[in-house]
C-alpha cells in the first residue's frame, strides 16, 4: 500500500512534467489522469486574472495616451510647419512694398562724380587736372588721375588765391569720397595758368601735390606742399632757391629734370624742377596761381 502511494505520487509528478512539456495529460490510473487534468486546467487558466486585468488596464491606458500624444505631436508639428511656411510666403509676398531705388546713372569710367561748383572770385581751385585757365576746354575731365595711395579723396576746392580777380567757373572732378578721404583733407595746391598738367599725383600722407607738365626735355615738374609743414619760413616770394644737379628721386618719368627751384608761393612750398635754367623755373613758380 505504501509502495503504491509512492508510485502514485511519482506518476502524478511525471504527469505534471508532461503537462508542462505540452503533452496531453495522462497517467497509469484514473485518479492520476484526473489530477493531471486539473493541472492542465490550471495551466490553461494562466496567470492570476486579477493581476493580468490590472496590468492590461494600466498599460492600455498608458499606451493609448502615448499614442494620442504621438498623434497630437505629429499633427501639431505638421500644422506648425505648414503655418511657418505660410508665414514665410506671406512675409515674402505681402510685406511692405519695396520702394524701387532711384535709377542710378552708370558712373563714367574711373567712377568719378562730376559736380559743378561755382567758385567765388577770390577762390581758386585746387584740382590741377581740372583746373583750367579761362577759355580752355576741360581736357582733364576724362583723365584718370594717378594717385599713389589709391585712396584719392575728392578734389576739393583749393585755398583761395589772390589771383587776378577774375571769376572763374571751374569744374571739379572728384572721386566718390570714401571714409578715409573724408577724414583727411587733401592738400590744396596751385596750378600753372595756361597749362594743363600731363600728370598729377596727390600724396595725402605727405600732403604734397606733384604736377608734371610736358615731357622729354621740356618736362616741368611742380611739387607743392603746405608751407606750414616745411621748415621753410612763411612769406610770399621768400626764395629758398636751390639749383641742384641731382634729379629728384620721385620722378615718375623717364627723363629727369636737372635744375630745381624751391620757393614759397602763396603759402605753399613750391619746388619746380626741369631742364630749363633756374631763372626760368623761378618764373614758372611765381606764376603759379
Amino acid at each position: 500500500m505504501q509502495r503504491t502511494e509512492e508510485e502514485k505520487l511519482a506518476a502524478l509528478s511525471a504527469a505534471i512534467d508532461a503537462v508542462n512539456r505540452g503533452d496531453p495529460p495522462g497517467g497509469p490510473d484514473r485518479e492520476t489522469k484526473e489530477l493531471a487534468g486539473v493541472a492542465l486546467l490550471l495551466k490553461q487558466a494562466g496567470p492570476p486574472p486579477a493581476v493580468v486585468a490590472g496590468l492590461v488596464d494600466t498599460l492600455g491606458a498608458e499606451l493609448a495616451a502615448k499614442k494620442k500624444k504621438r498623434r497630437w505631436l505629429w499633427l501639431t508639428s505638421g500644422a506648425a510647419g505648414t503655418a511657418a511656411a505660410a508665414m514665410l510666403v506671406f512675409a515674402l509676398n505681402a510685406g511692405p512694398a519695396a520702394v524701387p531705388p532711384p535709377p542710378l546713372t552708370p558712373p563714367p569710367a574711373g567712377s568719378v562724380v562730376i559736380e559743378s561748383v561755382p567758385i567765388p572770385p577770390a577762390a581758386s581751385l585746387a584740382a590741377p587736372e581740372t583746373a583750367k585757365a579761362d577759355g580752355q576746354a576741360p581736357v582733364a575731365e576724362n583723365k584718370t588721375p594717378v594717385v599713389e595711395n589709391k585712396t584719392p579723396a575728392a578734389r576739393q576746392r583749393a585755398e583761395a588765391a589772390p589771383g587776378n580777380g577774375q571769376a572763374e567757373q571751374r569744374t571739379m572732378l572728384a572721386k566718390v569720397p570714401d571714409k578715409a578721404a573724408v577724414d583727411k583733407t587733401p592738400p590744396a595746391f596751385l596750378a600753372w595758368p595756361g597749362r594743363e598738367p600731363d600728370d598729377v599725383t596727390v600724396d595725402k600722407a605727405a600732403a604734397t601735390v606733384r604736377q608734371v607738365y610736358g615731357s622729354g626735355g621740356q618736362m616741368i615738374v611742380v611739387t607743392q606742399q603746405a608751407a606750414a609743414k616745411t621748415a621753410a619760413a612763411p612769406g610770399d616770394a621768400k626764395a629758398a632757391r636751390a639749383a641742384e644737379a641731382a634729379p629728384p628721386a620721385a620722378s615718375s618719368k623717364a627723363q629727369s629734370p636737372t635744375n630745381r627751384v624751391t620757393l614759397v608761393v602763396k603759402g605753399m612750398l613750391v619746388t619746380v624742377e626741369g631742364s630749363q635754367p633756374a631763372e626760368e623755373l623761378e618764373k614758372i613758380a611765381r606764376s603759379l596761381e
Binding site: 512539456r21 492542465l40 486546467l41 487558466a45 496567470p47 496590468l55 492590461v56 493609448a64
Partner: protein, 186 residues
C-alpha cells in the same frame, strides 16, 4: 506565429487591451518561471513578472523588431529586474547570464489564448488556487504555473522532493474538489 505576434505587438503598442491581454497571458508563465528560478520566491517572482510586463510594454512604442524574438526581449528584462531585486536585498545576485538560458522563456505548453477558457472561468480558477494552503499554493505556482521541475521546486521551497510530491498531490486533489463544487471541469 511570428507574424501573429508582431501583429499583436503592433496593436498593443497602440493600447489595444485585447492584444495586451493575449501577450501578457501568453508570456506570463515563462516570465514567471524564470523569475521563480532566479529568486526562489513565488511572491517576489510574481512582482518581478508584473514589473517586467510593465517595463516592456511601456517601452513598446520604441520597440523595434531587430530579429530577436520578443520572448528573448522579455527574458532580458526579467533577468535585469532579478539583478535589481538581489541588489535591493543587499545580496550578491546569482550569476545571471543569458548564455545559460539560450531559451530562458521556453515553455512548450499551449498558450492560454489557445484554450477555450473564458475570462470568468480563469478568474474562478485563480480564486480557488488562492484558497489553497500557502505551501500547496506555492507548489502549484512553481510546479504548474512556473513549470519548474520537481528538483527545482524542492530546492526553492527548501523541502525534499518527496514532500513536494505530497504537496502537489494534495493541492490538486483540493482543487479537483473545488472545481467539482463550482461546476468547473474540462
Amino acid at each position: 506565429m511570428v507574424s501573429d505576434e508582431q501583429a499583436l505587438i503592433a496593436k498593443a503598442r497602440d493600447g489595444d487591451k485585447a492584444a495586451l491581454e493575449a501577450l501578457i497571458t501568453g508570456y506570463w508563465q515563462p516570465v514567471f518561471r524564470l523569475a521563480c528560478l532566479k529568486t526562489g520566491n513565488s511572491e517576489d517572482a510574481q512582482e518581478i513578472a508584473q514589473e517586467t510586463f510593465l517595463k516592456v510594454f511601456r517601452a513598446l512604442p520604441g520597440y523595434r523588431d531587430t530579429g530577436a524574438a520578443f520572448k528573448t526581449y522579455l527574458g532580458r528584462i526579467t533577468l535585469n529586474l532579478v539583478t535589481d531585486y538581489w541588489r535591493k536585498k543587499g545580496r550578491s545576485p546569482q550569476v545571471v547570464a543569458l548564455a545559460d538560458f539560450p531559451e530562458p522563456l521556453a515553455d512548450p505548453a499551449p498558450l492560454p489564448e489557445d484554450s477555450a477558457l473564458s475570462r470568468e472561468r480563469r478568474e474562478s480558477i485563480g480564486r480557488m488556487v488562492a484558497m489553497l494552503p500557502a505551501e500547496q499554493r506555492q507548489t502549484v505556482e512553481l510546479r504548474i504555473y512556473a513549470a519548474l521541475s520537481l528538483q527545482e521546486t524542492a530546492r526553492l521551497m527548501g523541502k525534499t522532493e518527496a514532500a513536494v510530491k505530497m504537496l502537489q498531490q494534495r493541492a490538486l486533489k483540493n482543487l479537483r474538489r473545488l472545481f467539482q463544487e463550482h461546476g468547473i471541469d474540462r
